[in-house]
Symmetry: none
Subunit: 169 residues, 2 copies
DNA sequence: TTATAATATAATACG
DNA sequence: CGTATTATATTATT
């Protein structure tokens, strides 16, 4: 049971000091506390996130200026948001897999050595499991569609200088 | 305090290869996820980093073998470490500058055009600011010393064939 | 407790 | 190689 502190000297301790603030602010790492974004900021960030989950530096700058945030803060927000999306997506995938395993099974492994005699893209060797329900099928299909959609969107949105999708000014 | 169980769920998908393993392998993207170095590896890497932040290819090879890591992994580790050091140094420099500007001011701009008539190395034209405190002076001095120390260390350790600082074999 | 802002680090891409 | 950025992991605050 090897326990190991990977974070080297993180110094964000709680320091409820008094209101006195002089040059001490410059010297001691006085808590920046934790900042919570406002609903307005959240809205704009979310809207942008729907367009692209990895905004360019310039776009981040503009957004930061609009929201009165640091560029870094915007960046962190997007990072955390992406992480969240990935997390939930993985969860859904696992769920899908579980459903799939529960209700479908392959009747025969396709022989990979033979040069595909039938180039069918659909898995014909799947057999229907008696316990599957319509809602399960729909859930599986929906998950796949979402997955595909995200991949496609990520591919095509590579910051291709698209004309401003939103009239910032 | 902040401990970390290193044997966490690394998504090591063990190949409990049952009889059925066909399409699911194609669908679940088994990414190697991310590898975290062990404390032992961290220790050795850090020790070496103190000697030289840019180990030669050969040295990297040996270290990699010792640590059971890829040469590439060791290389990346050193790159990231160097980046971190540089980042920290820049931050400290900025901080030092800030403090300096806040508490010291030059009484007269030294005429850079004149060939130094007095070769004094100390800035005599600095005036003491009334708000400066001993701790501020110490902080500034410490930052400068550290800065200088790092630069010196980096200069003198240029892979000068020093006798093996560690008996690798 | 959960949600999330912030930090740390392994890895990747570009010049 | 250095720099910037991303994904992942973890910490800490609310």
């Amino acid at each position: 049971m090897t326990s190991f502190n990977h974070s080297n000297g993180l110094k964000r301790q709680k320091k409820l000091s008094s209101v006195v603030s002089s040059e001490q602010d410059l010297l001691m790492d006085n808590k920046p506390k934790r900042k919570r974004i406002s609903p307005d900021q959240f809205c704009l960030l979310s809207e942008l996130f729907e367009q692209t989950d990895t905004p360019s530096h310039e776009l981040r700058e503009r957004l930061a200026k609009k929201l009165e945030m640091t560029n870094r803060e915007v960046q962190v927000w997007f990072q955390n948001r992406r992480a969240k999306v990935n997390r939930t997506r993985l969860q859904e995938q696992e769920h899908v897999k579980k459903v799939k395993f529960n209700y479908w099974s392959s009747s025969s492994s396709s022989s990979s050595s033979s040069c595909s005699s039938s180039p069918s893209l659909l898995p014909h060797d799947l057999v229907f499991h008696p316990d599957v329900t319509p809602i399960d099928i729909l859930a599986t299909a929906a998950a796949y569609v979402q997955q595909w959609d995200e991949q496609e969107r990520k591919k095509q949105v590579v910051q291709p200088k698209r004309k401003s999708w939103r009239p910032w000014l």
